[in-house]
Symmetry: C2
Subunit: 285 residues, 2 copies
């Protein structure tokens, strides 16, 4: 089995009440890939600048991740995000976002990535998500998004959602997307667009799974020492889709529930241990 | 087995986007008692005015609740709360609170209430909670509180908490009480005061249980049709302590976890069905 993921490959600067780091390997596709690498062959797709060097490739490759579709743009800068957290680590405050090479990104998948069994469209502009979706005939597909695209590209986002099997976003985004304050009804409204499963990420509260006939929820693992929750949701997605791909179970209820468990475990490691490039490796290893 | 609960016995006026009611039977001790009545003999303790009549007593008595310790103050008015909810039903906006006969309340328990096996101190001024606690030698005791008492009577509240086995409050209140942003650490700080179990109510996300050696969490039941969440937390507490009292299991882990399940179920009925005095009866019956 194999899994293709498209999304940001980035450097993050993060400040929390417990410390500060100026440059950590980050981005949704990186967190996702590290988590999914425990279950299956993973191919991240996305551009990086020439600030993305051998040390960064090594973090991914040491986990067996296939980096052929990471496009290195000479003279470009990698996506950069700067954020901070207060004592409430559930709320990230963005201080700076620099798209860098992502501004000109036109996804072109290799034959290997196109042939993947599973595709995850991490949070990027929904037209880009659709371009990737059209290149990959994966039998199982998932999508993440964010409030920015709900506000600025809603029609395109709805079209992208219609083309995947599983939507995996924050619970507030499910409400915002559907205009429905009740989460159970909101999830049903999403399923009417196309997906047969909806996963609502709920931060420290865990995650909830809605399917046509079922509901399942898992609390977050109660860490006493949360260092940095950046990427926890992407790690959840990596554990979730990594397990589904690696165990070939499709979207039947039992497999989905087990995938929720693996997502929860990987998210807890991501929150507890991320500190630097080498810690990202430790987190995932 | 028998259970004594002290707390407000009230009338509520509630407005939501889906409707409005000017006068519903409410109050923490009422919601708690209705929920606990499915499991054990319940004795609510608290004052009411002469606006609290036969119809209100009948709601309680029809569920076998013993009303001898409901003190009817002639010429007085019952506790009254007016609140509204927006589309986010998880946030109550208080518009008016009239203490009425509660302002002069001096708890005096009957012999029957003093002899209860289990005692629940619902959210009232912590000195009153301690007065009740000193009159009742229950082998199992629990306590609820609110931000108001953390802000205005913290020392007294900490002393009250030290005298019970189980604290059951909203998760934000556990953080506020302990000054600890991490919930797992905050729960441990509470246990250092005395309780051997801490239940964090988390609204629609459910509830989490912390004990010396364990963690357990249950999501809320995913209702598609939430009418009015007022009293859901009190109904949770009633299901939780009602089950513990009725099944005599003390505070061992297995009993506590099962009690979380009953609390969750009773809270879901309270949120879905409460509409009027007669609906309160339906909700609980």
């Amino acid at each position: 089995m194999s899994l293709t993921v498209v999304g940001s490959i980035a450097f993050d600067a993060v400040k929390t009440p417990f410390g500060e780091r100026e440059r950590m390997l980050g981005g949704a596709a990186v967190h996702f890939s590290l988590a999914a690498s425990f279950f299956t062959e993973v191919r991240p797709v996305g551009p990086v600048g020439d600030d993305f060097g051998a040390a960064e490739f090594e973090v991914l490759e040491s986990r067996g991740i296939l980096t052929d579709d990471i496009e290195r743009v000479e003279g470009g800068r990698s996506f950069f995000w700067r954020g901070r957290y207060g004592y409430d680590l559930s709320v990230a405050h963005t201080e700076d976002t620099q798209l860098g090479v992502f501004a000109e990104f036109e996804p072109k998948l290799s034959e290997g990535s196109k042939a993947a069994d599973t595709l995850f469209l991490a949070n990027i502009q929904p037209d880009l998500q659709r371009q990737v979706r059209s290149q990959c005939a994966a039998r199982l597909s998932g999508l993440d998004s964010m409030n920015l695209w709900i506000e600025t590209a809603k029609d395109s986002l709805r079209a992208a959602i219609a083309e995947v099997d599983c939507l995996l976003v924050n619970d507030a985004e499910i409400r915002q997307l559907t205009g429905e304050s009740n989460l159970a009804r909101a999830a049903r409204a999403v399923m009417e667009l196309g997906p047969c499963a909806v996963v609502a990420k709920q931060g420290e509260y865990g995650a909830a799974l809605f399917t046509e006939n079922g509901f399942f929820a898992l609390p977050g693992f109660p860490l006493e020492d949360v260092r940095d929750p950046t990427g926890a949701g992407d790690s959840f997605a990596g554990g979730f889709f990594g397990y589904l791909d690696g165990h070939g179970g499709g979207l039947d209820e039992a497999h989905l529930r087990r995938a929720m468990g693996y997502g929860t475990v990987l998210a807890s490691f991501a929150s507890a241990a991320r500190r630097s490039t080498s810690a990202s490796r430790r987190c995932a290893g």
